[in-house]
Symmetry: C2
Subunit: 442 residues, 2 copies
Amino acid sequence: MNSADLGRRVGVPSTALFTDQYELTMVQAALKAGTADRRSVFEAFTRRLPEGRRYGVVAGTGRVLDAVENFHFDDEMLAFLRDQRVVDTATVDWLADYRFRGDIWGYPEGEVYFPGSPLLRVEGTFAECVLLETVILSILNHDSAIAAAASRMSSAASGRNLIEMGARRTHELSAVAASRAAYIGGFHTTSDLAAGFRYNIPTVGTSAHAFTLLHDSERDAFRAQVDSLGRDTTLLVDTYDVAEAVRTAVEIAGPELGAVRIDSGDLLLVAHRVRQQLDELGATETKIVVTSDLDEYAIASLAAAPVDAYGVGTQLVTGSGHPTCSMVYKLVARAESADPGEPLLPVAKKSLGAKTSRGGRKWAARRTDAYGVAEAEVIGTGDVPAGLVDRQLQTELVRGGEVVAREPLEAARDRHVTARAGLPMSAMQLSRGEPVLPTEYV
Amino acid sequence: MNSADLGRRVGVPSTALFTDQYELTMVQAALKAGTADRRSVFEAFTRRLPEGRRYGVVAGTGRVLDAVENFHFDDEMLAFLRDQRVVDTATVDWLADYRFRGDIWGYPEGEVYFPGSPLLRVEGTFAECVLLETVILSILNHDSAIAAAASRMSSAASGRNLIEMGARRTHELSAVAASRAAYIGGFHTTSDLAAGFRYNIPTVGTSAHAFTLLHDSERDAFRAQVDSLGRDTTLLVDTYDVAEAVRTAVEIAGPELGAVRIDSGDLLLVAHRVRQQLDELGATETKIVVTSDLDEYAIASLAAAPVDAYGVGTQLVTGSGHPTCSMVYKLVARAESADPGEPLLPVAKKSLGAKTSRGGRKWAARRTDAYGVAEAEVIGTGDVPAGLVDRQLQTELVRGGEVVAREPLEAARDRHVTARAGLPMSAMQLSRGEPVLPTEYV
């Protein structure tokens, strides 16, 4: 990893085997046929948004840049490929020298997207570009799914605090990427220490029922927690009886008690009762954190409840019903040689109706109306119309194999706020609907 | 990783930060209160199966053992915890020496489970057990979700070949674990090279539309592939016109052509036509591989089609609608000191109706009827009834911190076949239903 300045490593030494076998066998066949170095353009895009969703959120771009940089085959991997006869010796030798030396342009992280948006455009020789397909899609499909769910939850929460707590509900390393994507989508903190370590996302914690059950009484447990973590801590009040727990909590921590957490029951009702009780006890500044299978709909339904923060787990890290984005990575143009002077010819699959795609190297721009609100995602293959030049969405990410667009996570997080705010208001509706922008091909 | 004999490393040096912050702050508070070393029993279980599912499949146990062995805090991690003031200095010092030294019993990998089944029982001091909560749940929740989907697909495929192709649809490291879980659930091969490298799962590959589009004609592409990969390769025949592609494929590779892949269109219809055409061309041994958004229902609906292998991606790695298993890890009993002579007292959350659990250290057994078919999952906290002693489900996995139950992946895969075969026939129905075994508490 070469992004130590943006966080710490919780990772893998090489990303080269996060790859479907056919990427390597295609390289082998193309090397033998003399077509491996044909100049090629691949694009990552999705044919549709998940059903009912009104916009997508680009996330994972920063991780893609890490993955491209770390895509190299070490000796042990090469030995594996040789011993298992995954590819022939000539290809193993070629892979030993592999580094991506091409160019990548794409939607910057945090931007919104629509069906057909060319999210990433990868250019180089066929062989160097095709190898990156699997890992690029893994990252974009996962991270963008989580960011989209996070963005909806963040709309629903209307500025209240959102804590990402889903680590236990997904693969341990998905969880780290999910925290990152959730942060981009508008979450404020995470419970996942690895996400704090790797990405500098602020980490928080409360306590579990086990901590209360460990002690001889709830009183002992609360005292132990306050003694060690201070009055500003968050006490979990639903192990035995909520009203009694709240009374005990304020008795022990005083009105300076940081927060109480409610993790079961009718959250709307219980939050109201707990708020009233806290206020009566003088703990008017003590906050209420709710958790328990929340999703964007549950968050929205608690808008009228006196809740200060939502802890969200399962539904966040599984994309709230849509754990992946169906992005694909397609060859859209290629030349007949490696010669930069050779013209790029658009190519596209034609058979069987479904799954066809549009050939040609694409640009994308977002047209706005007289009020500055986005009105269309415009995609084309020729010259960019003058009125759209300033509204182009793709930025340069990698030039000649060098990453040129690293940025702090906050930049992507801020960009998402701006991009979402530029969409028609109906983008924020949680109900099912069509994409809020039409995609126009010119 | 200490399991080099079972595969190679694609991993992380330490699993200790795949942990929610509150696990560490609870340890801090318990250390200060003098309760951290109380002898404790935690159990991982689920309160319900995903809606409509008839059985669950235990997967991830082997990865849990790796995670427990690799759960230690290195200097960089300790510095992070200290600098970010996640916990106090006394706790950082305690963590520096942390190794799990307790015992773990559990359902062996590949076994089936039901609501309440105590899948993992972790015993030791409170502090050493509570720290493992997050990573244990991450692994079991993810891997078991994939294995359950794989098992249903494997029932539906009735012995036909199943290829795991989902790497691009999920996080790049989830993908590796998903391949592993799918293999346990009955898949035969994977496209994911990292899964082959790490777990010795057989890897396979075909080719993509990009390979055909790279070349000046489909004929050139097929020739390039056959020249390099041999006649036994799998040619993708739906880039332009399927009938023409099949004709060209057999012309180039001869009747020894390994297989053709169909990735779009009405698979039932197209498979029939392609089979007829292949047979007419004399390629009677050439196999047909279908891919394209398959799930267990699509696989079942293709039972009458002349299909030899199914490549499954999205729906497999996202658990076919249920990407996580809602497993929890609960303190069920604890003593009042670390003294092994001190009695274990059952404990359980009581508040607010939902989410309550049963206290006490549990055993589990599967009772069978006169025909040897399973009829109930029996769970108890006292002595095991004589008739069930031989039918107990938990096995010893870790003794005094040492892993004692490592096994090859094939053992878990074989165990699943046996366990599923022991269930009532209705377990194999794909339609929604109740768990096929009732859970009885004695």
